[in-house]
């Protein structure tokens, strides 16, 4: 009996690589909301780019579908000194044009991002890099200007590795349309504003799940859903919650959803003259919101309330903190104590068409605030115009206001969220507190993971219970619609990557 088992295991081991190596078959068609602007992996940064480029290119590190850090082109990495990271590269990996993936390619790729002539928008993620050093064919070292524990999370998003020879040979225009990388797919055809066709890369070490994947760009959500139901496409992203019921009822299609680390919150510009200078008012504004009613009825269950800016998927999450309860009586009392028994009126800005059901939710929240005497004028703005208003927030003649934002925790770390929304240096914040700033700085420069996590949890507690710097709302789900023949699990980072979509 034992021997039989042994034989089976051996047989399975023999068959396994064969199964993996078999050429992928079939074709899937994806309908996506965001249009892709370029295939140059180093100059731009945007959500559509971060969903398309991983099909063709690979990074040193990556996020597994469950959100944990994994190695991709790096076989292993370690910090050899506080300012030096060493990466051992996977051996035998080739780009789709046959060039080898080696230390030289890594060095070239990052230097291309850092080159001011490239005007790269990814520069800000890697600006701490001082130089790259080729140790041998498969070993590369990254020297940073100062200790930067945040480097690895960004190496898992951007910093795609490309073959130096090809990228030196061709000009920018050619490169933006003709990518060469080591990813599971090669880009076969791209008609801007219309579709991208991917074909399995014969040189890839990670095989895609189908031979051909086509991504169609469909900006209008009702059309996207119609296309899914009528069978014109197999998977769609950005499914509006309201249409999920129809997708589920279709018989042939189903809804796939997962909570993403995208926190929706209302930010208060806290400055002289604002009623919410008083922490009691800020607390009252939080208590007057019935988050459950919004997530249940407006978001149709596709959102989960949060206590503070980062959610459970992020490093530094504090599980002991609970979302603010719904308590309008207490809110009224706090307002009266602060001298605003009659309430007050103010503007809340929200960008149009940017956040899932954002306008509808904010209208609902304004209705709840009205019940405790807070009159919120909801102003739906064009995103660029709203950014202009946000940047004017601390000017003397600008009346204090609030604004609704959603922040994606791409780095899965509290640090990223605090830097973007809480720190007084943040371009999109509204809260300035030297004590909290000092705590954030202290946590960031702590290299030991365990104690850094503790520090972030403590900051979250202070913010939730004492400082109340924002109105945290909920984390929305990324909602997809898929044909039932599709075999695909949603990722923790909410990305829809064509190479991961397979057929049953």
């Amino acid at each position: 009996m034992k021997r039989l088992w042994l034989w089976m295991v051996v047989l399975a081991l023999l068959l396994l690589p064969a199964g993996v190596k078999a050429a992928p078959k079939g074709k899937v068609v994806l309908g996506m909301a965001g249009a892709l602007t370029t295939f140059d992996p180093h100059t731009f940064s945007s959500l559509p780019i971060s969903m398309h480029h991983p099909n063709v290119f690979e990074t040193l590190l990556a996020r597994a579908p469950d959100g944990s850090m994994t190695n991709q082109l790096a076989e292993s990495y370690k910090m050899v000194a506080p300012t030096v990271w060493e990466f051992k590269l996977r051996k035998g990996v080739k780009f789709s044009n046959g060039d080898p993936v080696n230390a030289e390619a890594v060095k070239f790729s990052f230097e291309r991002i850092l080159d001011p002539k490239m005007k790269s928008r990814q520069y800000r993620y890697f600006k701490s890099m001082a130089k790259l050093e080729v140790v041998d064919e498969h070993t590369v070292r990254i020297h940073t200007k100062k200790p930067d524990p945040m480097l690895p999370p960004f190496l898992a998003i951007y910093g795609f590795i490309v073959p130096p020879k090809y990228y030196k040979q061709h000009d920018k225009k050619h490169l933006s349309r003709n990518p060469v990388g080591s990813g599971p797919f090669v880009m076969k055809k791209w008609r801007k504003g219309q579709e991208v066709v991917y074909e399995a890369n014969p040189n890839a070490w990670r095989k895609p799940r189908v031979k051909t994947a086509v991504v169609k760009f469909i900006p209008e959500s009702t059309t996207r859903v119609s296309a899914l139901i009528s069978g014109d496409v197999d998977v769609i992203d950005n499914l509006p919650p309201a249409l999920s019921e129809r997708v589920r009822a279709g018989g042939k299609t189903d809804v796939i959803a997962k909570q993403s680390p995208r926190t929706n919150y209302i930010l208060m510009v806290i400055k002289e003259g604002a009623p919410w200078m008083d922490v009691r008012v800020r607390r009252a504004m939080n208590l007057a919101i019935n988050r459950e009613a919004i997530t249940k009825n407006v978001m149709m269950g596709f959102a989960k309330s949060v206590a503070i800016i980062q959610g459970p998927a992020s490093f530094g999450f504090n599980p002991e903190l609970k979302p603010y309860p719904y308590d309008p009586a207490q809110a009224k009392k706090l307002l009266a104590e602060a001298g605003f028994a009659k309430g007050f009126s103010f503007d809340v800005y929200i960008p149009r068409g940017r956040f899932m059901m954002g306008k509808e939710a904010l209208e609902g929240i304004a209705g709840q605030w009205a019940k405790v005497g807070l009159k919120a004028n909801v102003r739906v703005m064009e995103w660029g115009a709203m950014k202009k208003i946000i940047f004017s927030k601390y000017k003397k003649n600008v009346k204090p206001f609030l604004y609704y934002l959603a922040r994606m925790n791409t780095a899965f770390s509290a640090e990223h969220m605090f830097a973007g929304a809480i720190s007084s240096r943040s371009a999109y914040g509204g809260f300035r507190d030297k004590g909290v700033d000092a705590m954030i700085n202290d946590a960031r420069s702590t290299l030991d993971n365990k104690s850094r996590e503790k520090k972030y949890q403590e900051i979250a507690r202070v913010l939730r219970h004492e400082k109340v710097p924002i109105v945290p709302l909920y984390q929305t789900f990324r909602i997809f619609g898929a044909n039932k023949k599709i075999d695909w699990k949603p990722r923790a980072d909410g990305k829809l990557i064509a190479a991961e979509v397979g057929l049953k």
């Binding site: 407006v298 209705g367 739906v380 703005m381």
Partner: protein, 301 residues
Amino acid sequence: MREQALAIQEPMELEALPERPKIWASLWKDKSALLGCVILLSVVVMAVFAPLLAPMDPQAQLLDRNLKPPMWSDGQQIYLLGTDHLGRDFLSRLIYGARISLLVGFFAVLLTGCFGLCVGLVAGYFGGKVDFLLMRLVDLVLSFPFILLALATIAIVGPSLVVLILVMSMRIWVIYARVVRGEVLTLREQEFVQAARSIGGSHLRIIARHILPNVLAPVIIIASLYLGRMIIIEAGLSFLGLGVPPPTPTWGGLLSDGKVHLYTSWWVVTLPGLAITVTVLGANLVGDWLRNVLDPRLKSL
């Protein structure tokens, strides 16, 4: 040129607006015009008396009764046309929506009418360089993609009712200007105008006394025909998210909010579309009738 082409058509009979009894008689005879009047009047009544007619506060929301179908009852009240995504009474929102849609249409038409009329009068009457420059301005406006103008303007100043009306007016006034100018060109050469001029009447007086009454007919016709168009344009801008900001209900806004409920709650997307269609239909029928009565030559508007 086009303005000459317009002016070359049959010379105009110079009579002022037809007398009143004649108008009413023709209205009674023309059944479709009558229908148009009835529709338009009921929408106006609906808009004016919205607070009396609406069964509920259009702003009052109750999140747990959202997206209920028509005739749904919570035990105390019947929601005749159901509720929207925030649990607001849909009938009340539709009734209040008539206000903004009509307001936008009416003021846009009024504003464009006045401005276009002035430009047309000045260009046609004075001719020469003034005319040339004003007509190039008209060309400029016409050659500018409207949607771009709307997007950029609203991005700069932010969406509001006033901005919306201004943006819509920026494009339409040129139509009045062109037609009025063409009319004035022929009028200018008529004997009675020449006579007034030889007596030494001031320009203002000649324009006000002799020319203006004769170009009012086309202005009224364009206004009535474009009222419906304005309502549709407002809806289109709302669809792109450029409309009147919430919580004010507008038909275009209701439509663009409702479209995601297309497959689950038909009433929130079908009814505003129907309201727009019916109202615009009414306005168009009235416009057609006014044209037939006042100046049948203006067919191409």
